[in-house]
């Protein structure tokens, strides 16, 4: 019998917030939960319901207090409604075809035994994480901050798997198809492609484990693509077929969706249309304040630990600065354990407010190549790449006798 992780974790979170309320006056419900419905899907904790069919479930912000996001709390996002719900891993084969020397089929056992095993932590984040903060609002999954997670992935290098089939000269892209299928024949199948350089590059994985357990069905059992540093739209779940292409893949999910304005900020004036677009690929730099929660009540002269996470698309976080006076002055946060350039890093800043009043806490991350976060909202019509510097309002009150 499988342990009921979700309940355990719920208790852990509940216990932790209770403790924090006792020591730091940090009570206050996570904003992500206000007016949003929690649901429990198989093998998952209580997550925020965006949509049930296909499933789109968001992680409540409390879970980001942990360096590695527990599997049962990781967000879920499928695109088309016939999601695989029954898979016999003995029958499953990964097909590699297209512009190759010889087509091959690889079993799960061959995948696990026939290649060098790689394991690293990487942030998985939906392109639309933060879409609900766009003004004016844009259609799509109305995510707050919870369509992301930091997961330990285990798998094999895509380029090694491609080698088995032997790529022929002139390949331009590699396309990936999963076991999910469309409810109507007219609905485009969810197929994504990578440029050949990316597919043959370092660290792109075909993963069969997350957090050192086999992938749950909702996360792409038996194997999925991991493109660390890039948005999760490329991380095709329950992968079944890889096709090497002589030209760019023309399907809807590459040419009609997941595209951003072709300029350095990937932004245009709110409400307008871009003249030229490109696929949404590498993640921008981002920091999130996890604690205190929005509208938390703090007590004057009592120390508070402000904590958060920061990450960027494949470059280490160089620094995180924190302001407790709405951006007038900034101090460097302490950085936590380094799990590599694809992981997020936790950051901490101790603060003891000496005057009662309303405060705005802000945090800004910069990566090793100088990429940082904007103070103003950058708008695009699909609601992608939200990374504005966050502002958390808290209330500091006089100590209670």
């Amino acid at each position: 019998m499988r342990k009921d992780y979700s309940r355990r974790d719920f208790l852990k979170v509940a216990g932790f917030s209770g403790l924090m309320a006792a020591v730091g006056g940090l009570e206050g419900k996570a904003p992500a939960e206000k007016g949003r419905r929690l649901v429990r899907f198989p093998g998952k904790a209580d997550l925020i319901l965006l949509t049930s069919r296909p499933p789109q479930l968001e992680t409540p912000i409390q879970y980001f207090k942990e360096l590695i996001t527990p599997t049962e709390a990781v967000f879920v996002r499928w695109h088309i409604s016939d999601v695989p719900t029954l898979i016999d891993s003995n029958e499953w084969r990964l097909k590699i075809g297209g512009h190759v020397e010889k087509e091959v089929e690889i079993s799960l056992n061959e995948l696990k035994m026939g290649f060098e095993k790689r394991r690293f932590a990487a942030v998985m984040q939906c392109s639309g994480n933060g879409r609900s903060f766009f003004e004016p609002g844009v259609p799509g999954g109305q995510w707050h901050h919870g369509s992301m997670g930091n997961v330990m992935w285990t798998g094999v290098l895509l380029k090694e798997v491609l080698k088995k089939a032997g790529m022929r000269e002139g390949a331009v892209e590699v396309a990936f198809d999963g076991l999910d299928s469309s409810p109507l024949p007219s609905v485009p199948d969810y197929i994504k492609s990578l440029p050949i350089d990316k597919a043959l590059g370092e660290d792109v994985l075909i993963a069969y484990e997350m957090n050192e357990e086999p992938l749950p069905l909702l996360h792409g059992f038996p194997a999925r693509l991991i493109v660390p540093g890039w948005y999760a739209t490329h991380w095709v779940k329950a992968i079944r077929e890889i096709t090497v292409l002589l030209k760019e893949y023309e399907g809807f999910w590459m040419k009609g969706a997941y595209r951003i304005p072709d300029n350095p900020c990937a932004c245009i004036p709110p409400g307008s249309q871009p003249s030229k677009t490109i696929p949404n690929t590498r993640m921008n730099t981002k920091s999130l304040i996890i604690q205190p929660f929005e509208k938390a009540s703090l007590v004057v002269n009592e120390g508070v630990e402000i904590i958060g996470v920061a990450f960027s698309g494949g470059y280490p976080i160089h620094e995180v600065v924190v302001s407790t006076d709405e951006g007038k002055t900034w101090k460097q946060a302490r950085l936590g354990k380094d799990l590599g350039k694809y992981s997020w890093i936790q950051w901490f800043h101790s603060w003891k407010p000496s005057e009662p009043g309303r405060y705005a806490i802000m945090a800004k991350a910069t990566n090793s190549i100088g990429e940082s976060q904007p103070f103003e909202s950058l708008w695009n019509p699909s609601g992608y790449m939200w990374n504005r510097v966050e502002r958390r309002e808290v209330l500091v009150e006089k100590g209670k006798r």
């Binding site: 499988r2 009921d4 309940r7 649901v39 429990r40 899907f41 198989p42 093998g43 998952k44 319901l49 965006l50 949509t51 049930s52 069919r53 296909p54 499933p55 088309i80 409604s81 999601v83 719900t85 029954l86 898979i87 016999d88 891993s89 003995n90 029958e91 609900s132 004016p136 609002g137 844009v138 259609p139 999954g141 109305q142 409810p183 109507l184 024949p185 007219s186 609905v187 485009p188 749950p216 069905l217 909702l218 059992f221 809807f252 009609g256």
Partner: protein
């Protein structure tokens, strides 16, 4: 007799247990088959002219929370969304039905602008 009682108690225990904790992924030891049953979550949308058409057509591909979670869009925006369902996803809809659906969405999940 006693065996029968123990058996019944065990069965009741199992029923209660699975009612409470049943939502896990089925994964038997030594079995290569994994399966899950996705919950069906009914979303009630507002009453009004067009509700039946919206329920019938939109539900073909997705649950109705896709509608209820959206920001309050203008009529123009809802028109564009319905047009996308027809053009991109191949929903079969005549102009009259499309109008009923757009009017419903604008009235109940839209804005006046």
């Amino acid at each position: 007799m006693i065996r029968y009682f123990i058996g019944s108690f065990f069965l009741i225990f199992l029923l209660v247990f699975f009612a409470r904790y049943g939502a896990v992924e089925e994964r038997k030891a030594g079995n290569s088959i994994r399966s899950i049953k996705l919950p069906v979550i009914e979303i009630e949308i507002e009453d009004g002219v067009g509700k039946e058409k919206v329920t019938a057509y939109c539900n073909i591909c997705h649950s109705l929370d896709y509608i209820t979670m959206q920001p309050r869009f203008s009529k123009k925006r809802w028109e564009a969304i319905v047009a996308k369902m027809v053009k991109v996803y191949g929903l079969q809809l005549d102009d009259r039905e499309a109008k009923v659906i757009i009017d419903y969405l604008t009235k109940h999940y839209g804005s006046d602008e």
